[in-house]
Subunit: 414 residues, 4 copies
Amino acid sequence: MATAPTVRKIINDPVYGFITIDHPLVLELISHPYYQRLRNIHQMAFAHLVYPGAMHSRLHHSLGAYHLMGIALSELKSKGVSITAEEELGAKLAILLHDAGHGPFSHALEKVLIPGLHHETLSLLIMEHLNEHFKGQLSTAIAIFKGQYPKPFLHQLISGQLDVDRMDYLNRDSFFTGVAEGVIGYDRILKMLAVKEGQLMVEEKAIFSIEKFLISRRLMYWQVYLHKTVVSAEMSVVLIFKRVLQLLQQGTVLSAASSDLDFFLQDREAGATIKQHLDRFCRLDDHDVMTSIKNWCYHPDKVLSTLCRLVTERKLLKIRFLKEPVDPDRLAIWRKEVAHRLNISEEEASFFVFTGKASNTTYNPKDERIHILFKDGSVKDISEVDNALIHYGSSLAFGEISKEYICYPEESKI
Amino acid sequence: MATAPTVRKIINDPVYGFITIDHPLVLELISHPYYQRLRNIHQMAFAHLVYPGAMHSRLHHSLGAYHLMGIALSELKSKGVSITAEEELGAKLAILLHDAGHGPFSHALEKVLIPGLHHETLSLLIMEHLNEHFKGQLSTAIAIFKGQYPKPFLHQLISGQLDVDRMDYLNRDSFFTGVAEGVIGYDRILKMLAVKEGQLMVEEKAIFSIEKFLISRRLMYWQVYLHKTVVSAEMSVVLIFKRVLQLLQQGTVLSAASSDLDFFLQDREAGATIKQHLDRFCRLDDHDVMTSIKNWCYHPDKVLSTLCRLVTERKLLKIRFLKEPVDPDRLAIWRKEVAHRLNISEEEASFFVFTGKASNTTYNPKDERIHILFKDGSVKDISEVDNALIHYGSSLAFGEISKEYICYPEESKI
Amino acid sequence: MATAPTVRKIINDPVYGFITIDHPLVLELISHPYYQRLRNIHQMAFAHLVYPGAMHSRLHHSLGAYHLMGIALSELKSKGVSITAEEELGAKLAILLHDAGHGPFSHALEKVLIPGLHHETLSLLIMEHLNEHFKGQLSTAIAIFKGQYPKPFLHQLISGQLDVDRMDYLNRDSFFTGVAEGVIGYDRILKMLAVKEGQLMVEEKAIFSIEKFLISRRLMYWQVYLHKTVVSAEMSVVLIFKRVLQLLQQGTVLSAASSDLDFFLQDREAGATIKQHLDRFCRLDDHDVMTSIKNWCYHPDKVLSTLCRLVTERKLLKIRFLKEPVDPDRLAIWRKEVAHRLNISEEEASFFVFTGKASNTTYNPKDERIHILFKDGSVKDISEVDNALIHYGSSLAFGEISKEYICYPEESKI
Amino acid sequence: MATAPTVRKIINDPVYGFITIDHPLVLELISHPYYQRLRNIHQMAFAHLVYPGAMHSRLHHSLGAYHLMGIALSELKSKGVSITAEEELGAKLAILLHDAGHGPFSHALEKVLIPGLHHETLSLLIMEHLNEHFKGQLSTAIAIFKGQYPKPFLHQLISGQLDVDRMDYLNRDSFFTGVAEGVIGYDRILKMLAVKEGQLMVEEKAIFSIEKFLISRRLMYWQVYLHKTVVSAEMSVVLIFKRVLQLLQQGTVLSAASSDLDFFLQDREAGATIKQHLDRFCRLDDHDVMTSIKNWCYHPDKVLSTLCRLVTERKLLKIRFLKEPVDPDRLAIWRKEVAHRLNISEEEASFFVFTGKASNTTYNPKDERIHILFKDGSVKDISEVDNALIHYGSSLAFGEISKEYICYPEESKI
């Protein structure tokens, strides 16, 4: 008689029904404070300002990606692809922890809080730290995560055009925002995955699903991720922290709501010695940032308090996409007007009137490839497949599209 | 030609698809900071510790209830029930604001933060304050909310056995937790609503839907709202704040992460003069509480820091439902053991070993009634309807069921 | 490297997403004409007259039950229950074919078309026939189906209080009728299945899901399966065939639209030699019946043609549930009136005015049992579990409830 | 007090929840035998051979389109577009009856059963017939249907690039096939509809939803409507009827299972006098065709009986899409082989080996247009909108794509 597994935990997930945890190490990692922290970091930062349902956490996303990884590996095994138990666990752990290095409002604050440290680097540092703690049990996971494991498809499932990370976040973000049109046919794509010569590919009959997947992504970018209100809110948070750092440099008395966030604001060299501060970093979450912003609404610095109120009261800067770059002279005039109205310097007015760029690439065949496996065993990139929508106009419609925008206070006549 | 409405805003909602805002006053109220605050208060407090999807906010719930109110009123009007535009707006505003008085972790902290002030009282104060600001435009809403409006069914839609508040939260909480079995057939019930002599009732053929609704509620209570982990987490937060207040009373130096929360911790009489502090109250949200708890993990008081770590690291006290009350002598022994192990006093140990009671009433015919309207015009309470499940055993199965529990540290042998 | 399976077919199912066929014998059986026939038999007979979506076929239901069986067995295996590949295939084949013996409009016509032959008997005959054809490969399936296999839980999964047959049809029928409230949490129940001493049971924490399941079933019975229009349509078809048999006995010239249906109408002893006519039986489907009814709309016999038009034009007999039995004298008067109006004999009028009984048992602990397995290893019937709704009033609310009804033409004043 | 409507019927629909009928004329039309007939015509003909859930009827589709029309008109009215009660009813009736002229397996048999009569012509004849019966109450509906009503947008909602017919069938077909990826965001598109100068258009922010809609359509065509098995089954039915007509012309004794179908097979000029035979036509449904095919399995003509068995036993001809046209010489050789193997003439073999063409146009700007209405009041065709995917490569990817195919018996080596 088979031995019952020692661990079997079922987690309800509105997106997939149930997520099953059936390995003790997975359960231990999920219970670790480094992982639990992700509970308090919104997956979609400020998207909930526009889509009130979008409150889901990075923890929930990474559990979802873990679930999809399990399905993907089962499907591949049922098609005869050789995957050992060790590799399966490795790939699952790697996807579970792939976002562990995200700080609060990461997309916005990554470059501000700890300059020079990309979240993937931090995820890797965290995995290595946990690998020590768990006595080498994460070694395979780390090799897969770094792309150094002999079976490339395992890494491609974590990071590639058709990885389970992307599948989960598109699906989950569509689900929680209520943008039903963004939902992707992840189950069909997973059933069509194949491996040839170690590379991840999809069967020919998945072509239309892949098209739909790329179009969904396009829709989610323009309708959700780059929604004007969301971009404006994120820019406000970036500027709040830029102002805070400026003020600190000038010696202004200013503290964050938590000592952990304070530490990273004071010690601008923390990135260089991050390994010593990993514990501290792994205590930061959205609460530290949001409570600080709430407190700073009453700070004597007018620029800072005004920016903070924009966010807490959701009276954000207006934003408009531009057909052509703004004339620097007009920008100067607008800033002058704001400076005058708010009684601040013109330089300070650039916190309220500024331009930026939002961009998105649906499918760039130069970077990465979606390989289509035909019944006769031949392989083509999807952009070369006859009849595929992407075949036509890939260089145009699916390449990077970027839009410049300008932000300004509602009261300004811009 | 009809005049186009001046306001028309569509909000994506994964539960209902779209929520339409088509009155300028509704839009203004939603944009008010008092309402926006609800964005940062979880509808289900700590339920996300068990159901990671349950991150939705009180703002989202009240928008949903507002949406259902619109449907309910349309249905009733299409059946010939007279409802004026003024009354329709009033009922919608009342449900929109019915939860505005909730503080952070309200269920747990209501009696601790501002003793003696129920959240409904605060909702009413907030409505009255806004009514001044909006020059009396909320007067009908307030009369309906207080149950003083001549058409009782309007109040019953806000607060009664079949109110849209309950319909939305059961539905929304089921949706976001992923406990699909809790989903209720709100659309069918709404289509079956009727009014007779000013009282809200449902048509006969809704009986099976109502049964299902009551059973769903029962399931949600036992499986979700009173889930052991959720109860344990909420009790921890209650005890954290009890300890904080104790320490403050003893003169210990201790501050919350935000000055707003600090104010209410320091001024224990704030409830009596709450009208003067409404602005302050309406800035409190989950961030203040959570950041404070994170900070207090490092407070020198062992009881406080230990309790705070239980919550932040999700290493909660164990909890067990009891078949019979705990023998006080055994409780004393257990507390002694904990006191010894943690090197604290026995009195302090009662923060870690304690008993409590979780309870739920599915349908108590004594309190409120679900009226069934028959085709022949007669009316019966559902508990008197032949063939209705609830008819049998209502006194037992649907009455209040309560369970005692005991909490204790994982290390204790209890 | 593992060998790829020789068969792997994926079938889209709106209820479960995808159904995977991964064994060549399953594929061969599905492709067999005996099985393909089920495509043309509505699972819910005339329910589509009320619920237009309810057009799904018996083939679709049995594929769905097959899918659930696969999940149930996987779950049990993952919990350490020993199930061999042979047994797994056997249980899957048994459920796939469990309804193969259904004729067209089986619920209504079973006793009329081939008297004395229950559909389960026919399913077994068909399995035995196929077993010969497939050289004994169905022997385990047959043993399981008959309840003669040593591991009782395998049979209980096919036929019992919590079998996958019931789970699929409740779920599928809810889905296609659009009676969303009937949807059951099949996935949660499947995850909670357990086996102890060979018996199928569910874990303690499934109690609320089971309650919901029983209530859903109750709702589906009263709202859908025993819907008045559906009952009236089914009774009409029964009476059409009774009249046809009467006319044939009287020597009237009358033929069905197909020679296969004709055969069974002419040869009233076919049941006794059914093994010889299995091929013929396995060509009958809804088309034979419906085309015959359409043709008979023009038959000279007034009773027959009138009944047939009731069905084809969906102008069905009225039906009313009765609080007490109808007085035979009044019945006679009503029949007289109809006889007079339609210019038929009083005996013939009994085809248009008649009484009958609709009934349903939600959970009858005398018949079968739902065993609850507690954490401490003890087992109780759900009706004995403390706190279970069913505990109270099981004898009343969950026992058989039956309602008498009367059918009559719309024009009659009854 | 408002008067209660005299009619209020709610129909469960798994796709939209509930469909409300609130006008007595709509209810009368739905109850008419001409409409009820649609209950027995599959919306998707043989698609259920591949997608077992696709059993829904034309009646269900037209109810769904009727429901969407109601939503579309409400939305437009709420935006200030003037629509009278008369027009609203007219548009709803027109869409309700737009498919009334479909015969069984219409897509396949339209040109065979009654040559020269398009189903739209028949729908119009039926509406005119009903208009007489209902004393002119359908006059507005007919004017709208014919595109002769002064407000063009009403006709465009029935037949145009964004009509509710298409929205419902894409949505409903996706739903019932379980091809979830085909589901379109109909609710968002409906909310974005607008009217300018009498023309139907969509607001700018609907662009991504429209793109998704076009891509879904593309996917449904290639994956479902033009699925090889479906095309093969439809071709078989076409050839069955071609053979039947050939045999009848040769004087062979042959009859259909119903006298109604027989009539149209015998009287090849019925199309010219169809007004006299409308009752007969409106009794034809899938049952007549399918029972006939079942009976013909035993007809002495080998070509006919073989073709019929292909369909009833679902052992269809193989089908392969071709990269280039088949060489006529090879076709002749293959036919010779089949003729020899089946012992039929070479001419008769062309019923088993033949070529054909499947085609689809996603969006052909030459034919019809999707107008985008910008905030500044300007209007552009979607193919001219900057940034729209369709902008690039519209001439290629979205134009007509057609594929030639060849059909042949499985045994042939082709």
